[in-house]
């Protein structure tokens, strides 16, 4: 993975010093809270309901064991002994003291990490495919391009106060594991007819209160124009994105209002101009970055066979391990969704254990997934049983990847000042309702996503089953939607009808799964059945009056 050189290190060190100075001026009263707020947000520091929250960047979700260990240590030293992995492949801490934030940043900088632009109206941490470099279906590792964009977008002086936040994802396979088209810019690395690599640009996707799937703006941008084209996309947005209403300020609204043809015409004009300005790093810079992501030294004789004699291990293997491009290896996903647990939360001891396992069994690498799980990307199949036993002993052996228990949930009203309803207790109740492994196994792949407000941090629009918490005259109420999906066949969920209270929504989810189980044809997932039979049968079951006895 990428290693900082002296320039990269100086940038994060300087940022620590700058933020220390900004914090000092805030505490001394030289900065008002209104003036300080965008500064702290650009360093991932939010004021939540009870305390400050610090969001740490994990660029394209990749980190090594030393970095992971420091994340665990920070949880112990500055927080309440745990961290929360997020849908942006980051980690956040919920109980931070303002005067300690600069020290945390210094600890992070000591292992080439930072919290730069994890919040605020700027270009956020770049996300990517959590299986990058290991997946059998990618045409190239997308992370070098994400790293090039990371450097370009860090402290970009023109784009420090955009109309609204700006999220970029980079992938390089047709199977989209990063919800690429639900980003402000989604980039897919592709090959053209001549076999050259380039970038397909999708612009104007997003979730929030107005979910949109990003349209294709340009099907091929040569690699040596990637930065220039990105800059053109951003400049048009910075100049013409709406600033009169924060709910209409994302780029998706601009692209929707002027149309993708007009937006792309303006981008092309800006692009043609910027090509004359010499802002593109030379291809040598990309060539410098690419080798950092070279394949690890695989054991070419690693056996491909799996000993399935332990049924619990076999269950976990079938659910949580994914095909690796290298024979004899597997991609392991560690579920942070134990039954009754808080999705994405991990205590410091678990974080450090995952670091140790990465060091010992996965060439020192881990990934954070947008589904709030952790990946060990390169594990020898012969080591899987050992890895699983260690995970299981630490409470990390839950076999539910992409199943109904693998719930995405935002922090909700337990932490977040924007939320209308709690997400975490609901996720806990649903996972308890479906706790039985045979029940989960029967249902198979079912992505359930919960947001505690319309901002949709829990990606409910993209859930096969989505749940949105709303405030109904002071009472928490939950809307159910069906049929959302991220990936190559991205679709947005549709609301079933009137909302439910907390117990009612759990029942409604269960009834939806019953409809699926009774109607499915061979090999169909929940989503496939829904797409075939439509909303009606689900509505009928969910809203049926209970039969009256007697």
């Amino acid at each position: 993975m990428y290693k900082y050189d002296s320039y990269d290190q100086a940038m994060v060190d300087t940022r620590v010093a700058e933020f220390r100075d900004q914090t000092r001026r805030r505490i001394a009263g030289h900065l008002t809270e209104d003036q300080f707020k965008p500064l702290r947000l650009m360093n991932g520091l939010y004021l939540q309901l009870h305390a400050y929250m610090l969001r740490v960047a994990i660029p394209y979700g990749t980190l090594n064991s030393a970095q992971m260990r420091v994340l665990g240590d920070i949880a112990d030293k500055y927080d309440r002994g745990y961290g929360h992995f997020t849908t942006r492949q980051n980690i956040q801490y919920n109980w931070i003291k303002l005067d300690e934030a600069p020290d945390i940043l210094a600890d992070l900088a000591s292992v080439e990490m930072h919290a730069i632009q994890t919040s605020g109206n700027c270009i956020r941490n770049i996300s990517s495919d959590q299986y990058a470099g290991a997946a059998a279906d990618e045409i190239v590792d997308p992370r070098p391009y994400a790293e090039l964009l990371r450097q370009w977008s860090s402290f970009h002086p023109e784009f420090v106060t955009l109309p609204r936040k700006f999220k970029i994802a980079v992938i390089a396979s047709d199977t989209d594991r990063a919800a690429m088209r639900l980003h402000d810019i989604g980039i897919q690395i592709v090959r053209n007819m001549a076999g050259e690599l380039g970038c397909a640009f999708y612009v104007g996707g997003g979730m929030g209160r107005t979910p949109m799937i990003a349209p294709l703006i340009r099907d091929f941008v040569p690699l040596d124009q990637l930065i220039t084209y990105s800059e053109a996309c951003l400049r048009v947005y910075n100049r013409y994105g709406r600033r009169d209403n924060k709910y209409k300020a994302r780029i998706k609204i601009l692209v929707h209002e002027i149309g993708k043809e007009e937006y792309s015409r303006q981008v092309e004009a800006e692009f043609a101009h910027l090509l004359t300005q010499g802002i593109e790093p030379p291809i040598a810079e990309l060539e410098r970055i690419v080798p950092f992501f070279a394949d690890p030294a695989y054991d070419l004789t690693a056996p491909d066979a799996i000993d399935r004699s332990d049924p619990l291990f076999a269950l976990w293997y079938d659910r949580n391990c994914h095909a690796h491009k290298q024979p004899g290896y597997s991609i392991v996903t560690i579920s942070l969704k134990p039954v009754g647990g808080i999705p994405g939360d991990a205590p410091a001891d678990q974080i450090r254990l995952m670091a140790d396992l990465a060091r010992d069994f996965s060439f020192d690498e881990l990934r954070v997934t947008h589904a709030q799980n952790i990946v060990l990307p390169h594990v020898r199949k012969a080591d899987l049983y050992d890895v699983w036993q260690q995970l299981d002993a630490a409470g990390l052996g839950t076999a539910n990847l992409d199943g109904i228990g693998d719930i995405i949930a935002c922090p909700g009203l337990d932490y977040c000042s924007l939320a209308n309803a709690r997400s975490i207790p609901l996720a806990q109740k649903i996972s308890e309702r479906f706790a039985a492994p045979e029940k989960q196994a029967a249902i198979g792949e079912l992505k359930l996503k919960i947001s505690g407000c319309i901002n949709a941090c829990g990606h409910h629009h993209a859930g096969h089953i989505g749940i949105l918490g709303v405030d109904k005259k002071g009472v928490e109420n939950y809307q159910l939607s069906l049929g959302g999906c991220e990936g190559a066949d991205t679709s947005l969920g549709k609301i079933t009808g009137p909302g439910f209270d907390e117990d009612g929504i759990v029942d409604a989810v269960e009834k939806s799964t019953e409809v699926y189980l009774s109607q499915r044809k061979d090999g169909e997932r929940f989503l496939d059945t829904y797409r075939r039979i439509g909303m009606e049968p689900f509505k009928e079951a969910i809203y049926a009056k209970e039969p009256v006895n007697g």
């Binding site: 050189d5 320039y7 990269d8 100086a10 940038m11 300087t14 010093a17 700058e18 100075d21 900004q22 001026r25 030289h30 900065l31 003036q35 965008p38 500064l39 109206n121 450097q151 370009w152 860090s154 402290f155 970009h156 002086p157 023109e158 784009f159 420090v160 106060t161 955009l162 109309p163 400049r235 910075n238 100049r239 600033r243 101009h273 300005q277 010499g278 802002i279 790093p281 030379p282 040598a284 810079e285 410098r288």
Partner: protein, 142 residues
């Protein structure tokens, strides 16, 4: 005109009052103009030869359109004074400088030591912009 608190030019400041972009095209002897956030800086490109001062107004520091306006003017070759006015704060100075601003007239005076620290803190930068500094990639590869 407004008085600059910080100025990084050696020529004499222009004394003309800055007029609106709308009026600038008609007033053929005008040399100073003020850009508001909603103005298109490219409307000024036909007049660069007679422009000596462009003020870019930041009514609120959170509105970043002025950064693009500044770069567009510099990229088009504008070499006159480019002055940030309005809600200009210490922690935005460096980004403004990088976008081509070379004078600053904040509505509330800045602490000189804080301003100096903000402008000199960063030894290197990741992007090539209007200030002519060599980006880190340039230093890596020559």
């Amino acid at each position: 005109m407004v008085e600059s608190q910080l100025r990084f030019r050696n020529d004499e400041p222009v004394g003309d009052p800055a007029i609106t972009v709308d009026n600038f095209g008609e007033q053929t002897n005008a040399a100073a103009v003020r850009i508001e956030p909603g103005d298109d800086a490219r409307d000024l490109l036909p007049y660069l030869d007679r422009l000596k001062l462009v003020e870019v107004n930041f009514p609120a520091f959170t509105d970043g359109r002025g950064y693009s306006a500044a770069r567009i003017l510099r990229e088009a070759g504008y070499a006159g004074e480019l002055r940030a006015v309005g809600d200009v704060l210490v922690d935005q100075l460096f980004a403004m400088r990088r976008c081509g601003f070379d004078s600053f007239a904040p509505q509330a005076p800045l602490d000189p030591a804080d301003a100096e620290a903000a402008l000199t803190r960063w030894a290197d930068v990741y992007q090539a912009t209007a200030d002519g500094r060599a980006a880190i990639w340039k230093k890596r590869h020559g």
